[in-house]
């Protein structure tokens, strides 16, 4: 192969080219440093503080009964959509009662409304370690890996008759579905699936509780 540059003495060539190990270490180090700087500086970075909910939502209203809503505070049986009228507006239409087998999916706007108005109990299906890093305010942790334990620990707050919203990380994980199946077997009938999960809640900048 034709050389375009004049030959350099062998020693100088070796000195110019770093050894493989050094090159790998340098590349990894540079990348790592960049990643670290990004996380330190970015408001989304892992070191950025979690917006903690000091007072998320109104004091608990009366237990939502079956009466049709004059203000969108609660929900009738199977009609959890009215609560989101005040917010960004998605999902603000009434929905038919869910079939016994399928659980209705709600979006982040509706989940926020329900949480803000304390109209539902939120169940976090993720592992305890990740739950502790941040969850929807007043959510209880019933991990998909320890349903019996989670249910037992949170019995006082879990009522099969109450509206219960289950969520996990995102649309891709199935922990919420696993927990919902178990909850159905345990007699919970008013379930909602907040499918977008914790990732969407966090991306929306909504407050967390630790």
């Amino acid at each position: 192969m034709a050389r375009r540059r004049p030959r350099r003495p062998a020693a100088a060539r070796r000195a110019v080219a770093p050894s493989r190990t050094w090159a790998i270490a340098l590349l990894a180090g540079a990348g790592a440093a960049g990643g670290l700087v990004y996380n330190v500086l970015s408001p989304r970075g892992i070191f950025a503080p979690v917006p903690v909910a000091t007072d998320f939502g109104a004091p608990a209203p009366a237990v939502p009964a079956a009466r049709p809503t004059r203000t969108p505070t609660g929900d009738g049986p199977g009609d959890g959509a009215t609560a989101s009228v005040t917010k960004t507006g998605t999902g603000a239409q009434a929905t038919p009662p869910p079939a016994a087998a399928t659980v209705r999916v709600i979006d982040v706007a509706e989940a926020e409304s329900l949480a803000r108005q304390r109209a539902a109990v939120f169940v976090d299906a993720r592992t305890p370690e990740v739950f502790a890093m941040g969850h929807i305010p007043r959510a209880v942790n019933v991990p998909s890996t320890d349903f019996a334990g989670g249910l037992a620990r949170n019995r006082p707050r879990l009522n099969p008759e109450a509206l219960t919203v289950v969520y996990c990380t995102s649309e891709e994980c199935d922990m919420a579905e696993i927990v919902m199946e178990e909850l159905k077997k345990a007699g919970f009938t008013r379930l909602l699936h907040y499918k977008a999960g914790w990732n969407a809640w966090e991306n929306a900048g909504l407050p967390a509780e630790k």
Binding site: R13, A32, Y38, M133, T169, N199
Partner: protein
């Protein structure tokens, strides 16, 4: 050229992976926690640095497509390092995934599978899901271009 194709593929993988993690750094932190393999004190360091390393590898590999690393010197050494680091990290990820699958640890590592999210709209099979043995298969496939790059001598 095999090398160009391999570099493009790997660059694509790393850049997309990095983009997902840089968009949702806290989600990646939770994924590292969920993996339950990194000791607690190191978790934030791994979560903070990994996206940067992936970005660095992706950029170098992409640049190597346009500016071929020939001869010896800093640039070929860097391009070579990117290929080696790719192979090493892909191997580590695959081993970690296999270990966790055997341990029965629940993970959901699809949350920053940005490419899968977009492609999954047309090809449901590519939609991100909980990590499973099919993810292992996908990772093993990704090792192929990395391995092919390693067979080259840096003087080309």
């Amino acid at each position: 050229m095999t090398a160009t194709v391999c570099r493009l593929l790997l660059a694509g993988i790393w850049l997309v992976a990095a983009a997902g993690k840089l968009q949702q750094p806290k989600a990646f932190l939770r994924a590292v926690v969920g993996f339950d393999l990194v000791p607690g004190a190191l978790v934030p360091w791994v979560a903070a640095t990994m996206p940067g390393v992936e970005l660095a590898m992706g950029l170098v590999l992409l640049a190597a497509v346009f500016r071929r690393p020939t001869g010896s010197g800093t640039w070929p050494a860097l391009a070579d390092a990117a290929a080696w680091l790719s192979f090493i990290l892909l191997s580590v990820f695959t081993v970690a995934l296999v270990v966790n699958l055997l341990r029965g640890v629940t993970m959901d590592c699809g949350c920053f599978d940005v490419l899968g999210e977009h492609l999954g709209r047309w090809i449901p099979a590519l939609k991100p899901r909980n990590a499973g043995w099919d993810t292992v298969a996908r990772d093993l496939v990704m090792l192929v271009p990395a391995a092919l790059l390693l067979r080259r001598r840096s003087s080309r």
